[in-house]
């Protein structure tokens, strides 16, 4: 007998204080597009509240900065649990970015050897999916993209590089990303792109936003 169509379960949210004027609301612990969609929707709903200063979606969580003169941790927790039971609005597909990549990164040969692939196969596999921007953060303009094809899954480099050039296309675990600024980094560098991710004179100063989609193509 076929299984009945799954109905969206009431999401269980767990909140934890992050000091006296912020909290972390966890929707789950898995790298999952549906959870991320809910987190982004919850952050958007919370941002409309006057007692909320800022709400930032993580992979499967929302970090809420609130005004302790206008609300309390308990009151906000109750409101978040109520909001999370609501069916999230139909997620609009995020903007699609097409990013050209030259697959000649300094780690592509070593990564190919470890994965039993050729550099060309790495490029083919890396350009195949349409990735999701799970979250923007860490450093200015950095975006966590995924999920990466299983065939490309590698742990981080044992010894992080002290300086990775801006525009380096990199991968680690089930994630991929582009270094927006020259910085230290432990991911495997497989290519480079001329596209600028950090745009200091724009507002917001970054190309990608949480929920956007990204397709790489080899050039």
């Amino acid at each position: 007998m076929p299984a009945p169509p799954s109905t969206p379960k009431a999401t269980t949210v767990r909140t934890h204080p992050l000091g006296d004027s912020a909290l972390l609301a966890e929707l789950g612990t898995r790298l999952d597009t549906a959870l991320n969609t809910r987190a982004i929707a919850l952050a958007a709903a919370l941002k409309k509240r006057r007692d909320v200063r800022q709400a930032v979606a993580g992979y499967a969580s929302v970090t809420v900065h609130f005004d302790p003169d206008q609300t309390t941790y308990q009151a906000l927790t109750t409101a978040i649990k109520r909001l999370a039971t609501k069916r999230p609005p139909m997620a609009e597909p995020g903007r699609l970015h097409r990013i050209p990549v030259t697959y000649d990164g300094p780690d592509i040969e070593a990564a190919a050897k470890q994965l039993n692939l050729t550099p060309t196969q790495i490029a083919e596999l890396h350009t195949r999916p349409i990735y999701r921007v799970f979250l923007v953060g860490f450093v200015p303009g950095w975006a966590y993209l995924g999920p990466l094809p299983e065939e490309l899954e590698l742990p981080r480099r044992h010894v992080p590089r002290t300086q990775v050039p801006a525009g380096s296309v990199a991968m680690a675990g089930r994630q991929t990303g582009i270094y927006p600024l020259p910085s230290p980094g432990g991911w495997h560098l497989i290519g480079r792109t001329p596209v600028k991710l950090f745009l200091p004179d724009s507002d917001p100063p970054c190309l990608f936003r949480a929920g956007d989609r990204v397709k790489f193509f080899a050039q």
């Binding site: 992050l18 972390l24 499967a60």
Partner: protein, 311 residues
């Protein structure tokens, strides 16, 4: 004329700061702004500015400045021995400078950061809604950099007339920077420490390592074990105490990374962040656990101290 002061010596690391850019975290840009918000707000209120006006944040030693015109200034935060024309002047008090007056600092007595406000507020480049200097991207404040000799400090707006000198913060309301107890609220991943680890966190002495700047402080102390499943990255807040695999905690400060995946075992209460901002490498500190309500009472007390400066 809007030009009020000229920088003759910049000091080790002097930047323009305000209350930061809380909305820029959406782009991965840290909130930034003054490390010691209490001293920053007090300095502004002492010269009748809005609390969010830009001030100078002077790290480890002070600059040397010459007044180009009469202006009202206030110096708060760490005591670096401020002088006007060689004579000691009081901190936490509005004082008038006359044209030609020289501001110098005799040397650091305690603390890490002193704040210098000018009536009318300091002018600077605005980036993403704030004049706070962010060195990594070279934006905000004095062209995105620390002050250098020859810089001229101009006013962002008109001083509030009639500006009065002599406004001061009562001595009993000064922050107790010498007491390095940081009150902290248990965080999302505190249970990973277990009962013994939690006792170590809220009881042991930690030392600020050499790796301490506006982004955060790496601490040295008893190794904490917060290992467990890999965490998915989530949004962070200033004051968060992360425990990476090394077991040596990291205290996030104003220019902290906006997201991360290390366990957060506690977060320093807002009211204790001014003390944290005045710590230097080598300083010892302890974390004392408090509940949210107690932390908010401390916050309220600081608010009342600042309100005492508002007529």
């Amino acid at each position: 004329m809007n030009e009020k002061l000229r920088v003759t010596k910049p000091g080790l690391f002097t930047t323009v700061q305000d209350l930061g850019r809380p909305n820029a975290v959406m782009a991965g840009v840290p909130p930034g702004g003054a490390m010691d918000r209490f001293a920053h707000r007090a300095a502004n209120l002492l010269v009748a500015n809005d609390e969010g006006a830009a001030t100078l944040e002077c790290t480890l030693n002070g600059p040397e400045l010459v007044a180009l015109e009469r202006c009202l200034v206030a110096i708060t935060g760490a005591d670096f021995g401020p002088r006007v024309n060689g004579r000691p002047v009081r901190m936490w008090e509005g004082i008038f400078l006359q044209e030609g007056d020289e501001v110098t600092f005799a040397g650091r007595r305690a603390g890490a950061r002193t704040y210098f406000a000018v009536g009318g507020g300091i002018a600077g480049d605005r980036w993403l809604g704030s004049m706070a200097t962010y060195m990594l991207t070279g934006r905000g404040g004095m062209h995105g950099r620390q002050l250098i000799a020859g810089d001229v400090i101009s006013l962002a707006g008109a001083p509030r007339a009639p500006a009065v000198s002599g406004r001061q913060l009562a001595y009993n309301l000064h922050p107790d920077y010498a007491n390095h107890t940081l009150y902290a609220i248990a965080g999302p991943h505190v249970r990973r420490l277990g009962a013994a680890g939690r006792k170590e966190l809220f009881g042991s002495a930690f030392k600020v390592s050499k790796d301490a700047d506006r982004m955060g402080y790496r601490l040295e102390g008893p190794g904490l074990d917060a290992s467990g499943d890999e965490l998915l990255s989530f949004g962070l807040a200033a004051g968060a105490i992360q425990v990476p695999r090394s077991g040596q905690p990291i205290l996030l400060m104003a220019d902290h990374q906006t997201a991360g995946g290390y366990p957060v075992v506690a977060t320093v209460a807002g009211a204790s962040m001014p003390v944290a901002a005045q710590l230097l490498p080598g300083d010892e500190l302890t974390f004392a656990e408090v509940g949210i309500e107690a932390a908010l009472r401390m916050r309220k007390a600081q608010r009342l101290a600042l309100d005492s400066l508002i007529n």
